[in-house]
Amino acid sequence: MGVTFINGGFLTTVQDMGRTGYQESGMPVSGVMDRRSAALANILVGNSEDEAVLEITLMGPVMEFDEDSVIAVTGGNLLPKINGKDFPMYQAVPVHRGDCLSFGGPAAGSRAYVAFAGGLDIPVVLGSKSTDLKSKIGGLDGRKIGGGDSIGFARPGITPVNIKRRKMEPEDFSAEEKIIRVVMGPQDDCFTEKGIDTFLTSVYTFTNESDRMGCRLQGMEIEHKNGGDIITDGIVFGAVQIPSHGQPIIMMADHQTTGGYTKIAAVISVDLPLVAQARPGQRVKFRRISIDEAQELYVEEKRRMKELKEEFDRAPDSCEDPEAVILSVLGCEAGRYQNPAGRYRAVIDGKEYILDLREEHEDI
């Protein structure tokens, strides 16, 4: 078995990018709260971006590795430790059987993500491995992870290429006041001019009533034209709902698919991680941008992720240890590398050899 939990921490669940396609039946999407951090953790260990990861909330679990693996920890800094020593974040790191991963406590942000090379051996329920705590499906029987639970690896022993290259600058979630960009709508016409102005110029504070369904904020009351109730409408991840009390609620990963309150705006995709990582007491100012700008930022982030993935997966031009390359690519350890394709120059006994393992030669 891959990892065994000594304890589950405050709220640790298996999540991927969510269960799409069932919202018309009233099923929430679930999935990770901070999609960027989870995608980066996967990219770092050579997985596809949407592979299942562990989402760890505030107080992390204690887990022991039953097998070797390569992992990456991203997201909020919850002070990850391996065998009691500081564990580097935003970096692919080999771990060994018997190693113990634990967390010291929340230093910045509130959610960390752990990705495992090759992914987690979790059954796919309705197209996703995500834990839906409300419908009690996905992940580990639809519940949070507790002490004594074990999760296997989907492809044990797999190692991504270029381990040393697989690291990046961690995202800093420590800011006490955040600027969060929104696109207005769909019910911004239900608010007075004064209400819109209040929303866009005053400071709101994250309350402790925040969970995977939504984050409640507190601040200046936002004025409606005719109250906050509407005939039920659909809800998106990041929608800023303003019920009649005039205080914003940002709808998060486990949000209900529909609801009967006015939505003044929605947080743009690339800023949603800031909301997912916010802590009670932290402050936020909303800034309006156009839908065109928001979608350009979305496309730009997708492109950056793709480039990063290509950079990590690109095979080295040459290798200082040709024997290792030949053994691992062709020999007894063949199959250990996920992406051996590339062009290698190996110098053995003073003679140069070219190993061409690019796409069209993959049948070597």
Binding site: Y22, S25, S135, T258
Partner: protein, 242 residues
Amino acid sequence: MSEVRYLVSGDCGMCVEFGNVISPEINEKIRAFKIAVEKSGIRGITETVPTYRSLLVHYQPDEISFKDLTERFEELMGSLSDIPIPPPSIIEIPVLYGGEFGPDLETVAEYNHMSPEEVILTHTSGEYLIYMLGFIAGFPYLGGMSPRIATPRLKNPRVRIEGGSVGIAGEQTGIYPVASPGGWQLIGRTPLKLYDAGREKPVLLEAGQYIKFRSVSRAEYERIEKELSDNTYQYVIRRKEE
């Protein structure tokens, strides 16, 4: 009928709004547009969610922008009358009324000055439009209940209501897909599972479809329950006549 509006709902969503009232006409337009969108094969659309007033379209902006999607939808809306939309279906929901499964049947009868039999007759005579599903997985928002059996919610909600329970809350009737707390007046229970995560189609009902309740005896309720567990139950579904 007010004009259709294409509203920004985040950078990955578009709310196609058809109106701001609950009406079967608007619901039928939403259903037709949903079918048209599904047939259109427009790239980048991941799913659509019908509600009372709108169709929420989830899409990927790296595949299609809000501007381009709006244009495609305007075209589609213009040719909506050319797209054949099948008539909605009616699904029969067998219900065992009264007794332990419908502890509030008497209350509903007394409140409306009729006999429990009349309540059952009224409840089973209507065809109920499923406007949308939401709140929890598989919960249908139904329209079309006779105001003659309308009854306020319980003052003290129950801590647990079993899945399949059929109830009345104000002028609405509904079915609980799974066990949950709630304040509806319970008049009966269906053996059908509105939500079953283990089933190929986890949610039984669809928005735009109609429900017809049928009163069954305890013996029939138990027979259907057995057939469901043996996988031999035949759902009674027919086309609604125009």
